[in-house]
């Protein structure tokens, strides 16, 4: 494991400049438009609130319950799918840097996670404001979002390293990951809901809710925002997945990290 550890140890001292770059990257994307970075807030606010309201009417659920469910769900999903999809591409998109210098591989993963964290923060604050308007009120359970987010960072780090290394060698992986994530979006209770008790769900939907690992991971963070107490099963599944991807990620970094430039 020596390569993996030295790679990660070399990444952290450089983190400050790459955190700055990750933040700037968000600005650059919108700079030439009139509204600029405000588009990050606007495009999220319009789609999330719109879908939230539509789905509350379709499912016959009260807006003060369903709009927060969807808005927080979408913000969290953007982080999860972002870490997975951008993670699978991370070594390939960092090509010009990796071929210029001997830079730590994990640095690019950390930088990507920081960019997604900024976006998650912006979107959560936007969701707070809009959901307050729809009648949502924060509860004490909200403190659980902090440990949950820490777990997300660890899980995102492991996932991006695992997929990033493998997808640099086998390029089909990143396309496959993209297609899967689009499908999983619909198969996870992000814009729809089945009620609070897991046991109520039946048939195919029940199967989805019980066996789709993404619903446990998503709910681990969302529960705190929508006023639900931490659910031991959600946390157990999420922590187990995190431990697994961290292990595979560090293993992939150790075995493939040094030679990854050969495949770029």
């Amino acid at each position: 494991m020596s390569f993996a550890w030295s790679d990660m140890a070399a990444a952290f001292p450089r983190l400050r400049i790459w955190a700055y770059l990750a933040f700037k990257q968000i600005q650059f994307e919108h700079r030439r438009s009139v509204l600029g970075s405000a588009w990050i807030v606007l495009s999220y606010a319009i789609t999330a609130a719109g879908i939230g309201f539509l789905m509350s009417q379709l499912q016959g659920r009260p807006v003060e319950v369903h709009v927060p469910h969807v808005m927080f769900g979408l913000a969290i999903w953007n982080f999860i799918s972002g870490a997975t999809i951008a993670g699978a591409d991370i070594m390939v998109t960092s090509r010009s840097y990796l071929l210029q210098m001997n830079l730590p591989r994990s640095l690019f993963v950390l930088s990507m996670l920081l960019r997604l964290s900024y976006l998650l923060g912006i979107q959560l604050v936007t969701a707070f404001v809009i959901c307050l308007f729809f009648g949502w009120r924060p509860t004490l359970e909200i403190v659980w979002i902090f440990p949950a987010f820490a777990v997300y960072l660890a899980a995102g780090f492991g996932t991006a390293l695992t997929l990033g290394m493998v997808a640099a060698r086998f390029r089909d992986i990143s396309t496959l990951v993209g297609s899967c994530m689009r499908l999983i979006f619909f198969f996870t209770p992000i814009i729809w809901a089945v009620g609070t008790a897991r046991d109520q769900a039946e048939g195919f939907i029940g199967f989805l809710v019980r066996w789709n690992p993404f619903s446990y991971v998503l709910n681990t963070l969302r529960d705190g925002l929508v006023g639900l107490p931490p659910d031991p099963l959600n946390w157990t599944v999420t922590l187990a997945i995190t431990a697994l991807v961290l292990f595979t990620g560090i293993l992939a970094l150790d075995r493939m990290g040094r030679r990854v430039t050969y495949w770029l």
Binding site: R14, S96, L103
Partner: protein, 240 residues
């Protein structure tokens, strides 16, 4: 870094890239391409090495291996000293970012820390002669202005071992003179320089020894005149 410790010692280094084959079944065809094949040499402080070779002979691969980008597949590479590499001066700026932001972007790419870059900013801005333009986004720059900035950033770094892929030329005649002077100081400050170029005059001016690569093998390492002769022989072989 104590200059006397700076060295590069390559022993029988080979870099072979895996070849991607269409289809999953093995066809028994060659699965790897040796970009470097059993290259050995020793460089001590004061070495100014010109790297000659036709396109695809392994010049860039050797430079990238010395920069630590490619690990050696076999053999041993032992290096001591701070390495700076300039492979691609025209590497894209972020067009939406200002000149100043691009200094940070590129500084990070060169492996600098936030504080190191901040220290270098005034001298970079001054050398580029961009003035207030530095706060404008790059897409408003003329191509000469962008080139001047690129050159100023990449040459602001000091190091023990300097790896250069082709000499950099930038901007109008006045800036070009200034740029040439700066490159010479940079080369003078570094303890070991490896410069890959097709410009033989430049090599005669800057180097005191040369390597000739041919299909990944080091076919000559020694004085400049013999190296240039060897290189020209190989070049003529392909023209016939």
């Amino acid at each position: 870094m104590n200059t006397s410790n700076v060295h590069i010692h390559a022993r029988d280094i080979t870099v072979s890239f895996p070849l991607r084959r269409a289809g999953i079944r093995s066809t028994g065809a060659k699965t790897a391409h040796k970009a470097l094949d059993g290259v050995s040499f020793e460089l001590a402080p004061g070495a100014r090495v010109g790297l000659l070779g036709r396109n695809g002979s392994g010049k860039s691969t050797l430079l990238r291996t010395l920069a630590g980008v490619y690990p050696v597949t076999s053999g041993a590479l032992e290096m001591e000293g701070r390495v700076a590499a300039i492979f691609n001066a025209s590497l894209g700026f972020v067009q939406e970012a200002t000149g100043l932001e691009n200094i940070y972007l590129r500084g990070a790419m060169l492996g600098l820390s936030f504080d190191q870059i901040r220290e270098l900013v005034p001298s970079i801005v001054e050398f580029s002669e961009l003035g207030d333009w530095i706060r404008e986004p790059i897409h408003r720059y003329s191509s000469g202005m962008a080139l001047r900035l690129a050159f100023s950033i990449t040459t602001a770094v000091r190091s023990d071992i300097l790896l250069l892929d082709e000499w950099l030329g930038a901007g109008d005649a006045a800036f070009l003179r200034k740029a040439r002077a700066r490159m010479q100081t940079m080369v003078k400050d570094a303890s070991i320089v490896v410069l890959a170029t097709h410009n033989l005059n430049l090599m005669r001016n800057q180097c005191n020894q040369a390597m000739v690569l041919e299909e990944g093998r080091l076919v000559f390492f020694g004085d400049l005149d013999t190296a240039i002769e060897t290189y020209q022989e190989f070049r003529q072989l392909t023209q016939l």
